[in-house]
Amino acid sequence: MINLAKKDVEHSLGKFLVTAMGVGMLLGIVLIMMGVYRGMVVDAEILIGDINADLWVVQENTLGPFAESSRIHEDLKNSISVVDGVKHSEAITFQNIQLPKGTMPIRVMAVGYDPFGSINPINQERLIEGSPLTKDHYQIVVSKETGFELHDEIVLARDTYEVVGITEKTVSSGGDLLVYISLKDAQKNQFLYSNNRVRSDRARGINNNDTTMVNAIIATLKDGYNVDEVANYIKEWKHKSVYTKKEQEDILTKNLIERAAKQIGLFTAILILVSTIIIALIIYTMTLEKMKEISIMKLIGIPNSIIIKMIIQETLLLGVLAFISGNIFSHLIYEKFPKRVVLEIPDAWMLFIVVLIASILSSFIGVKKVISADPAAAIGG
């Protein structure tokens, strides 16, 4: 039997392909939206994963520096280091700063750590050039995406820093590029007020210029110790909030990303709905364009089943081609996005199933039109 769908598509191949590509672009955007969410999750976990601490000790009754302001004294690391089960503990700071670069400063998150400490937050696998910090002052490790190169000089506040290392794909949970400076420099930048501010504070009777604060104390545990038990002990005796690595990840993914995920999820659902409507409209229009031929076929006696088969095959082909072009489109553009986009195969398969269902539902409109077509309409010009 002649495959009517194949013949029809061959006859108007260009138009069909352009239509499929148009729908494909829409589906590509759906994939990108899913990728944006996946990227957010990956980004959120990069810093925590790289630091790879077992425990996060933060200001009491706060969720820690990724969720809200947290300030604790640096020397707490010494108290933590002697807790039974703790192997190493270090102080760490996080601060959003602007790196001067041409006319457009670059917003980054500066991670302050002790270069001579026992916990290094720089993942060696991401360090593509240079080295981690080797001095207590005026060195900086930057993310490649900042555009700085090794040995470039960057002025921050009153000091000039030399780029000693370059990392790649290092971002904060908010998607800001990461730079690494020494803890002392970070404390100075974050907690040292300007002379004017100090004078103003003194005039107000405030004499607090403590620069030994940090945002969190991170700790690793010795083998054989239960992380929850050590965390509970610190909570009880040190009057701090303590989170395990898993809890920190949950805070990020559930508390911080969840709303964004819902937003993206809703947007993705709307895009899928719009895609379905567009596919349905295209099939409806394609069927309407063929109504004369369909009426003639019905008039000369072609069974509905053959005509319906043509509509369904064309719809499915449109859906499959749109899906393929959507995938190609999304893979071509995803790296152009300023934030990380992670395209995952299971997401693509899920979209494929959705597109198939949408195509089948859309074809019902065409099928309904075929069934209702009046063969007598073929007569009379």
């Binding site: 002649i2 006859h11 007598a376 007569i379 009379g380």
Partner: protein, 237 residues
Amino acid sequence: MDKQSIRVENLVKSFGKGDARVDVIDGASFSVNKGELIALIAPSGAGKTTLLMMIGCVQEPTSGKIWLGDEKVYDDKWLNKDTRAIRREKIGFIFQAHYLIPFLNVIDNVTLLPQANGQKKEEAEKFAMELLEYLDISDKAHFMSSQLSGGQNQRVAIARALANKPKIILADEPTAALDNERSVSVVEMLKKIALEQDVAIIMVTHDEDMLPLCDRILKIEDKKIVSSKVMKGASMI
């Protein structure tokens, strides 16, 4: 019914109900023999196409009886609910315009119906080529209809109408879109088909020049078939 291919008795078609009821055909009775080419004439709006569509099992009559070949298909109701199967198996249609399927080439247009009837592709194509040769258009078998002239397309449409070897052909103004020379050629071809293949053909036409080529003329007047004139010399073609 041996000689008769189409028989219509007291056929009525009305639209609307009550005061809005309009009778289009009111008691039409006639028959068409095998091998006959009949011209159906009437003023515009008199119900020619409606009559053709009722005989072609496309529109349901209001009442009456229709026989196609030996089978009684309508007796105040369709006796076979699958009217499309009746059309597929018994009737070939030719229209005012060729109405070929634009995305199919000539051979596919001609073989579509036989294949839908379950005929094998090779078998359908062999017969289609014979038809196209018969209609002197076999060299265009793989052309699209957009590449053919009006007359060539109409010949392909005739081949399509013959492809399922029907014993009845219903032609609705098949020459309306053609010039006089091509119109004569098409009607002569229909006459030849009627004679050689023993097919009964009813042809709706407004073109008086075509009437001498037909065997008989049926005229609808005042909603009835009022005359059935035998044309002189028609059998000479």
